[in-house]
Every structure is written in structure tokens, then in C-alpha cells.
Subunit: 249 residues, 6 copies
Amino acid sequence: MKIKVINPNTTLAMTKGIEHAAKSAARPDTEILAVSPKMGPVSIESYYDEYLSIPGVLEEIKKGEDEGVDAFVIACYGDPGLNAAREVTDKPVVGIAEASVYLASMLAARFSIVTVLPRIKTMLEELIDSYGMEKRVLNIRTTPMGVLDFERDPEAGIEMLRKEGKKAVEEDHAEAILLGCAGMAEFADSLEKELGVPVIDGVVAGVKFAEAIVDLGKKTSKLKTYKYPEKKEYIGELKNFGHNEATIK
Amino acid sequence: MKIKVINPNTTLAMTKGIEHAAKSAARPDTEILAVSPKMGPVSIESYYDEYLSIPGVLEEIKKGEDEGVDAFVIACYGDPGLNAAREVTDKPVVGIAEASVYLASMLAARFSIVTVLPRIKTMLEELIDSYGMEKRVLNIRTTPMGVLDFERDPEAGIEMLRKEGKKAVEEDHAEAILLGCAGMAEFADSLEKELGVPVIDGVVAGVKFAEAIVDLGKKTSKLKTYKYPEKKEYIGELKNFGHNEATIK
Amino acid sequence: MKIKVINPNTTLAMTKGIEHAAKSAARPDTEILAVSPKMGPVSIESYYDEYLSIPGVLEEIKKGEDEGVDAFVIACYGDPGLNAAREVTDKPVVGIAEASVYLASMLAARFSIVTVLPRIKTMLEELIDSYGMEKRVLNIRTTPMGVLDFERDPEAGIEMLRKEGKKAVEEDHAEAILLGCAGMAEFADSLEKELGVPVIDGVVAGVKFAEAIVDLGKKTSKLKTYKYPEKKEYIGELKNFGHNEATIK
Amino acid sequence: MKIKVINPNTTLAMTKGIEHAAKSAARPDTEILAVSPKMGPVSIESYYDEYLSIPGVLEEIKKGEDEGVDAFVIACYGDPGLNAAREVTDKPVVGIAEASVYLASMLAARFSIVTVLPRIKTMLEELIDSYGMEKRVLNIRTTPMGVLDFERDPEAGIEMLRKEGKKAVEEDHAEAILLGCAGMAEFADSLEKELGVPVIDGVVAGVKFAEAIVDLGKKTSKLKTYKYPEKKEYIGELKNFGHNEATIK
Amino acid sequence: MKIKVINPNTTLAMTKGIEHAAKSAARPDTEILAVSPKMGPVSIESYYDEYLSIPGVLEEIKKGEDEGVDAFVIACYGDPGLNAAREVTDKPVVGIAEASVYLASMLAARFSIVTVLPRIKTMLEELIDSYGMEKRVLNIRTTPMGVLDFERDPEAGIEMLRKEGKKAVEEDHAEAILLGCAGMAEFADSLEKELGVPVIDGVVAGVKFAEAIVDLGKKTSKLKTYKYPEKKEYIGELKNFGHNEATIK
Amino acid sequence: MKIKVINPNTTLAMTKGIEHAAKSAARPDTEILAVSPKMGPVSIESYYDEYLSIPGVLEEIKKGEDEGVDAFVIACYGDPGLNAAREVTDKPVVGIAEASVYLASMLAARFSIVTVLPRIKTMLEELIDSYGMEKRVLNIRTTPMGVLDFERDPEAGIEMLRKEGKKAVEEDHAEAILLGCAGMAEFADSLEKELGVPVIDGVVAGVKFAEAIVDLGKKTSKLKTYKYPEKKEYIGELKNFGHNEATIK
């Protein structure tokens, strides 16, 4: 099967890292197609960035129909555009935050998230609430490092995650740690060894769940909420998002 | 003061109607600037449309800085882009769904919303939950009419709202009716007379709340969640959303 | 328009302060009528005081009909008698706690309340829950000072608010501070300057929301929960609260 | 022991009925003192009535100290003044709505409430929420009969309860029925036989819980929320509620 | 009346202590029958122990029918098997955790629980949530001591409870302390004196509630959730739990 | 890898059906070991049956250690013993109700469950709440058929599911249907074709999630809630559950 993993930001080095993580988790017969959108921000660290990453994500979802893609993974921990992506295609679409909390719930009773800048804490709280997981998440721990700081200085990154992960275990009594950024995948294994609790990266969780859903032959429900978008005109820079065969079946 | 009312869809006839409603509610000394974005969908009836309306909305928010705008109203009942808009400016930004539920809560103990197509019910449920109003909203009643159907055939529109409004009062025991689409503003007064309960249009509620906040000299908190977006590069059709003086103070 | 601001306690000095705040926020064409009830406690610092302030508040609401009042503001942070007041009149009635949380929600994602004695914390928690705002309120910070202590020693009052406000920002990461007592209105502006986040006083918020609702011509729904009280006899000291034309339309 | 059962309304015939129910449930060595306040409404059917019944209730609580009362039951299904009563005395105070939901929870997984006029539905919903019982209460069924209608026409009363009780069992699948008015106590036994599920009257539940708490020697916590009211002056018709030895220990 | 108090663990010394507490609280005319099951763990400190204590508990419930028991108390703070016990008999069954939170709610606005090992915190959180009491419980404080440690070294036990109880009062601002293990009953009185807030043991609460319910002649609803178990075959060590007259009426 | 699928009831014909479903979904290289416990009920249709199935389930979990099992699936829609199973082993354990709601959440915004007898509705409601999925589940539809009725008369079974499934789609507007019993797996595909929405069987969902977790090399967190059970003695029929090497690592 072919799974398209979309890194919603436009930093290709980060997409490479995500691709690597996805491939390391995928089964041998699963083809991973890892991409960044053709438009949007180099990193996502605010509502502004998140919303503006969505057009590019949706474009990649639409392209997936021609690329013979069987399922999609949206690889940013805010799950940007997830609901719209489910409208645009009937192929399964999995968000990495969503995948990580469901996976964690099957392994640990209570857990904490470690993520990037303080400003995104409210965003993640709202997201966790929308998944019904607020009772299980003990804390959302932010760091002074931005998304690309983890790319630029992985040494500092792992050190920061180690520090906050330890506090999550010792102070929150977190029974698992969730990595709240797609760019942290590479640190999961060594952190898990050091911290002694499951450390969960959403990218690999998302890929495995996507494989599972494709194996089961399940598709997104097209009955009501996730119907294909209504046919209509779009104007300006986004005019290509208007009705055309690829979008609206 | 100057209030910019942004109709997130690109149908100018509807923007006219919204402008008319806004002006009828505004104080004589309030200037209303009603606009549609330069890009995006002609109507918003899905997550897809909603997310894709946001770039255009944010562009209008940014322009507002140069236009001497004192406050913004986002005039679509999904409050698209509201959180990001609050990052982009320190001027108050009010969403019409948000304004309508707060206003309704000061007038009625329990209420129902009447809106457009069934597919948006989940979207509105999630929105109402995020505002903490789930206990007060008895029902979200959808109709088979789309956003522009209310423009095209106002006779049918009022008839549909009358019918669902009556059911809301008689079956839900709704003590107020909220109009779940910016294009329904014109029907509020006659419906209120017929139904005998407050009928609340979010556009006028949003304008009045915006006036109130400007009068108080209050601005959006820039401490954490709504800080200005981080400076960074954007690419592709959205490259203008990258860092520049207007966006990032 | 004429807005009657009712200070539910019987300390006239405090009513003067509330009047001053209300007038400073009201539009030039808004007449503010600030009163204290003719019966009840000199301050409200318990359920006991709160409940016993309500008869006096309701008496003032009823009088308002003859005074040509267009809207009412109940100016104590427990919103005493708010639901009953909405039964007694069809004019809009706004509580200052209610107004402050709705206003704050349009300016800040998360906030804390600073208020008087520790014993009222549970009261405020229950109130915040009833408004659906529990997710947004990070903390309710109490002080060792009672309501009238802030009147008697404003120097100590501002110092206390400054201290707790700072802790709210630094420890709770509150993005706005709500002043949890009508007698704190005078401190809002200087605190806001010092703390760097919106500091919200409910009195001015209540007045502005009342103006907005009157402008819109909206009245309290009389369908069910807020119907006029049933006609019936009252005895004893409260016999005047029984049925008469002014009360029961 | 001596339990004072306070009927918060001033209709003595109803107090007699409540006294009868209380005595029939009390142990032989329990003395029941059933009273109505000296001031307030003849029945409670709105927020207005409820709040205005509280001064009379609190006066009776205070008198209880001199009467050698060991515990109090507030016998109106809105539990008027319950929190303030717990401030005024350290003797246990039990509300009948509270008692009925806790009792019901030990006998049935899910239940419905049958009560008086439609207008009090919101009041009861808020009360049930404050007790954390919203998941267990399937429905609050109102009737077109007021409180005193059940006194005046018990035939019609039982018929109405039978009808709504049956619908509760058949349509709500209620596993117990709670009688949502102190004046319905007399109907409980025959309804229970007819409906085949527990029918719970709060008056007898309240009395038995009060006996249990007194037996255990437990008193209301005076640490924080339920501390004795602060000493202060009251004016007007309520001036006797100000500080004096009986109130403020 | 006869109340059977079932200590779900098989440590008879602990059953003796529970019997002593139950008898000290019971009325003179109440006969207390305190037992341990014939099978299961010597103490309950995990989900594993809890679930494996249930067969023994249910066996004791079933035997109660022949023993002329009027009501049952399940005396372990996880309320093991409570829902199934209510299926097996129509006599009232009360859990001690359940009883303690309802009792506490009538005496204190907010409270904390002090219990045994850290690993049971999640279990208690889920239990408290299922009783709708999550808002009232400020903290669940665990200790490094297991259930039988309190038996073996009561000196250390009271010291530990004293320490955590004090922290509950001073740090949580708990207005009552709930003892989260049936083996702590003996410490309640002296702790209450020291801490100055109600200290609530579930065993005595359960006994008094059971007495109250029997006095009222109420039985468990057999309509739906708590119907007698369906008749069916059981195999293996548990074959005696299959259908027979005693179990299935 | 080897996945042990435990049918918690002792009806081997049903275990065969579950085995068939599990194998049809498993990857070629996944070995499915489907078993029933050696003790317990022939079907699970009450809290009584559910709790009494747990000892047998836990015994099978423990045996799994010697059988070289990599992960477990508990194949009854009440997820009996799931938390204890996670204590007993560090291999992943997945419940089929849990798996079905997480899978459904990735495919549909809102869904309904169709299950067996009415009496289990409360059980499922509590389970769904504990997974945080109450907002997504529109309805739990019960049928007059017991667990084994679906075995005995599959014609009637499919007819019943068809009928309730249709009502779920048409009346609840369910966007997916979850089959609330492990014995319904065989009906999923034909129902999905007829109903036009995803029909989700928990057995196959559980198997695929187990595969995914094993692929990722993740194990259950042993930090706190799911630590191995404390070493201790058990007596009576359950004495083998006491401490021994297999159980307590």
C-alpha cells in the first residue's frame, strides 16, 4: 500500500526526518511518500501558521487521488486541516496528535505531552479536549525552543526533551511521554530508554494506524460531516480550490 | 470609531447585506467598513470552505492596520480564523457565533440555533463546546438550504427559518433563536415578532460588542496564546503571509 | 438611555465608587443611576450575605420599571439574584461577573480572577462553571482582605492586587486578570499598565454590554425560565414582594 | 435527637403534610419539628420565589440553635439557601433534592424527576449539575400543575404524577422516579406500587440522612466555604440578620 | 435489621477492625454481620486484586439471601463488584467510597482523599468521576504504605495519615478528609480532633446509609440495569456462579 | 508475531467465530491464538457476568507469557478486565470496545453503537465515558436479542442489526455503526454495504491495533497504574492467582 505522509510545513529537511521515521515504522510492503506542501510556512508555531498551512495540506491530499495513495498522515502535532482533509478524500486520513493520544491510551493510564513554544499550549489543550482525552493528559509541557530549533540543534533538543520528560515523570507522574512535534521523532527511542516509560512519536503512530485502517478496507464516512465539499467557485490565489473533478467526486 | 466587518466568503451581494445589518446596528459615530476577502470561496459550508476562507480573512485583518481600524468582526457563523486574527493584530476581534452565544446567554436560559446544511452540524457543535455553551444550546437545527440559497430566494429562506424557529420554540422549548449564518441577519426582526422570543443575529451582536470593547480601550492580550506570529518565511501562493512589518509588529 | 447599576450591598461609599466607574465607561448619552438597596448587608462575603442581598436587589429592579430604566447591571461579583431579576423585568439585566468573563473571552485565551476572602472561592467556582467558563479560568486567587478593606485602605488594596496579579501572570500564565469585586474598579487601569495584560473590571463591562443590548432593542425572553413570577401572596417582612401590578405584568 | 424540617414556603397546610411524611420516616426516638418561615412566599415556583424564601429559612436555622436542634432538613426541591444555612450553623443541614439524588444513586443507575411547572426545569437542571448527577438524570418532567395545586387537588395530582411517572419508565427508561416537590411526599408509596420502580420522596430521604449524620456525630466543616458569616451590619427590613451572638459564634 | 458488611479482602484481622467500626456506628437494634469472602486476595491494591475480589464478594451477597440480611455494605474503598451486587439481590447495597463522598458532600464544599499506594490513584479518580464528584475532590493523596501496613503498624499508619491529612488541609484547602481504605476506620476520630475538619470513614457512612435505606423500605430497582443476572451456565472454578435459585430469582 | 485473542466467555463456537474474524484481518505473518477461559460464563450480559469473566481472562493473559504471545486482544465489548490485564503483563493489551471507538473516530465524526440486551446500556455508557468518547457516540441501540441468540439464529441477528443500523443512520444521523458484541463480527461487511456507512467490528480493529503496537515495539507502561500486581496470598478457588513467578515479574 502507499501512504502519503504530509509534513504541513515547507521545510524539506524536516520532511526528510519525518520520512525517515515513517519508513522505519512502515511495513516492508508499505510505500511511504513524504512531502511538504508547495505553499505555506516553514514551521508551525501559532494559530496563524497552522491555518495558513492548511491550503497546502489540502492540495497534497487532492493530488494523492492521482498518485494512487491509500491513506494519508498529517504530520504536524496540531493536526492542521484534518477535518477538511476527510472531506476531500474518502481515503483514511490520520492526524499524528490524534494517533499519539489513542496509542498512548492503550499503553498508559495517564500521560504528559512535551512540545515546543509556550504559545501553543492553548492550541494543544483545545485539540486534546476535542479528542476527549483531557482526563488522561496530565500536563502539556512547553519548551523555549521553536520547531526548527530542534532541526538546527538536535543536541540542545534532546537535552530539552530529556529535562522536561524527566519532570513529566517525576512531577506529573506521567506514565508515558508524547512528543508534541513531528520533528522530534528521532529522539523517541533514546528518550524511552532513559526515562523508562513509553515515549510516543505521533508520526510512527500515524503510519501504523493508517496501515491498519487500509488493511481493514475502511474508508472515511461520506454521510454527513465528511461529505465531499459542495461544488462552488473560489477566487484569487486560492481559485484552484474551487470545484473540479479531482476535488469533488 | 471604525469597525471592519469581514464577510469571509467572496460573495459581494452577501457582504452588502451584512454591511446593511452592521450599519443599522452601529452607533452614528461608528464607521462600518464591510469587505470580502480577495481570495477564497463564494460561500462557507464545510470545513474545507472554512479553512480556505481563512487566508483571505487574515489578509483583511492585516490590511486593517493601515486602514485605521479600531476593531474587527468576522461575519461567518463558524468564526473562521478567529484565533489567528487575534494573533495578527492587537485590536479586538469578535466572531459572530461567539458574540451571539454570549448575547443570548444574557437574555435567555436555553436556546437553539437554526442554520444551513446538515453537514455543518458537527462543526457548530465543536464551536459551541469550545465556547463552553453546550448546556445552553438545546438544538442545532439545520435546513436543506445552502448559504447562497438564502440570498437567492429570501422568500424560501424566511419560510424555512420560520418553520424551524417554530419547532425550536415548540419542541426544543428554546427561549431564544440564534441565526446560524451571517446571511440571515435581515430576517431577524420579523422572525422575532412572529416567534415571540428573542431572535439573535450574530452580525449586529458582533458590531455592538466590538463598539463596547473599543469604548473600554481594551486590546487583545499579547502575553502568550495571542502573541504576534513568529517571524518566518512563507512560500508559494501564500508567500506574502511571511514576515513583514505589517504582520509582525 | 438609562442604566440602573445596583450595588447589592448597602455601603453608599462603595456605590459612589461604582457609579464613578460606570459613568466613566458609559457613553455621553447614557444616564447612570447607581443605587444601593434599602435593606441588606454592608458587604457580601459569603453565601449568607449574597442571598440576603437579593431581596434588596429585586426591590430595586422592580422600582426601575417606574424610573424609566432601560437596562440593569447587578454590580457584585457573585451576580446575586441575576436569574430572579430576569424574571421580574423584561428589560435586560447583566451581572458583572458574567460580563467580565464574556468580555475576557474575547480578549484572552486563558485568565485568572483576583478576589477577596478565601471563603468565597467555592462560590466563584460554581458561578464560573454555570457560565461554562471553567476551562478558561486558570485560577481564582483570593486575598486576606474583605470587601470593605479595599474601600478603607485603597493603598493596601492596590498593593494586594498587584501582588496577586503578578503571580497570576507569572505562575498561572494568565493572559488577562479579572477583578473579582465591584469595589476594585478604580484599580483596573493602573494595574493593566503594570501587569501588561488586560485587567478587566466587571462594572464597566456590564455597563457597556447593557448599552449594547439596549441599542439592539433586545429584551429578556419571557417564554419559560424567565417568565414573570407567578402571582401569589407573601407574608412577614417580605410581604411587599407578593403580587402587585409592578411586579407581575 | 431533634430534627427541624423547614418548609421554605409559608403554606402551613403543606408544612403539615411534610411533617406527616417526616414523622412517618423518622425513628421513634427522633423528634420532628416542622415549621414554615415567618416571612416569604406561599409557594416556590421561580427563582424569585426561591431567593425570597431564603431569609425566612435562614431565620429558622438560626432559631434552631436555641431550640436544641441536632440537624436541619430544608424541604423544598430547589434546596433554597442550603449553602448559607451551612454557614449559619455547624449542625448538619440536608437539602431534599440533594438527599433524593444521592439516595436514588444507591438504588438505580439512571432516573427521572417529575416536578411542577415547566419554568423550573432550568433551575433543577442547574441544581442537578451542581450535585454532579447530570449523567444519572435522564429527564426532568414538568407538569402544568403548580405547587399548591397538588395540595388543593390531590386527585388530579396523583393522576398527573402517575401519567408522567409512567412516561418516565416507558419512554425515558427511568429506573427510579424522584418526586420534585416536597408536597408530593404523600403520593410516593402508591406510585411506587403502580410503577414498579423506586419512587423517591426527598423529605423522607432528607430526614433519614440527617439522622445518620447526627448518629455519626458529624458536623459541617467550618474551615473555609462554610465558615460562620463575617460579622457585619445589615439594614432595613433585614437588619436582624446582622451580627449577633446567635448567628456569629 | 441485619446488615452484612463484606470486607472484600480475606484478611480476617482487618475484617475484625471493620466489624468493630461498623458496630460502633450501628444503632442498637442493628445486627452487624461482618465477613470476608472465602476466596480472593489478602488485600486490594491494584485492578488485579480488585477484580479478583469480586467473585468472593458476590458469593457473600448471594449467601445473604439465606441469612436474612436486609442490606449490604461493601467495605473496600474501590467499591468492588458494587454494580454486580445490585444485580444479584434486591436488597440495598452500599459501597463505602460512594457513601463517603455523598456524606462528605453534605458536610463540606471541597475535600481530599487520603489513601494507600500511588498505583491506585487512577482507580480512585475513575471511581470519583463515575460518582460525579470530580469537582468536589481536590486531591487524592497516596502514601507509601500498603493496605496491610496499616494493620501491621498502626502507629506508622496514623502518623502517615496525620501528615497527609495536614497537607490536605494546608495545601489543598480540603474542608474534609476522606479515608480511602476500609482499614483506616479506627483512626478517624483522633484525626478529626487533630485536623479540625470532618474526617470521614466510609465504613460507618455505609452502615448508616444502609440503615436509612432499610428504614425507608427501599430496594434496588430491578427494571433494567440492575435486573437479576440472566440465567446461564458457568464453567470451571466459577461453575457455582451459574444459574440456581439463590442467584436468579 | 503472535496475538492472543481472548473471548472472555466460555462458548467455544463463538470463539471460533471470533478466531475467524481475527484471522481474516490479521496479516499473513501474524499468528492468531483464539481462546476461551477455562472458567466463567457462557455469555456476558450483565455486570455479574462481566466481573465473573475476568478471572478466566486474567488466567489466559498470564498463560500468554509462556506461549510467546506478543500482544493480547480482549474480545468482548465491555473490555472486561482490561486494566488488570495491563498490570499482569507488559505486552500490549487491547480491548475491542476501546479499539472500535478509536478506529471509528478516525473515520466518522459521530456514530452509534448497536448491541445486545437493554440492560447493558448503562455499562456501555460508563465505558464510553471512560474513553472520553461521549460526545461522539450519538446513541447506544440495544436489541431484544442476547449474545448467544446471535450465534443460534444469525438470520434473525443480521435482520435485527439491519433494522437498528438503519434507524441509527436515519434517526441518529450516525456516520458509522459500531457493533457492540464480539459475536457480530461476521455481519459487518454485508451491513456496511447495505447501510452505506462504515460498520466497525471491534475484533478486527483490536487485532490491527495490536499488530501496530507490536510493530512499534511498544509495551505497557509499568511506572504506576499498570505496575505488576503486588505480591500477596490468595485463598480459596482463586488461590492460584496469588504471587508466583509467572504473574509477578
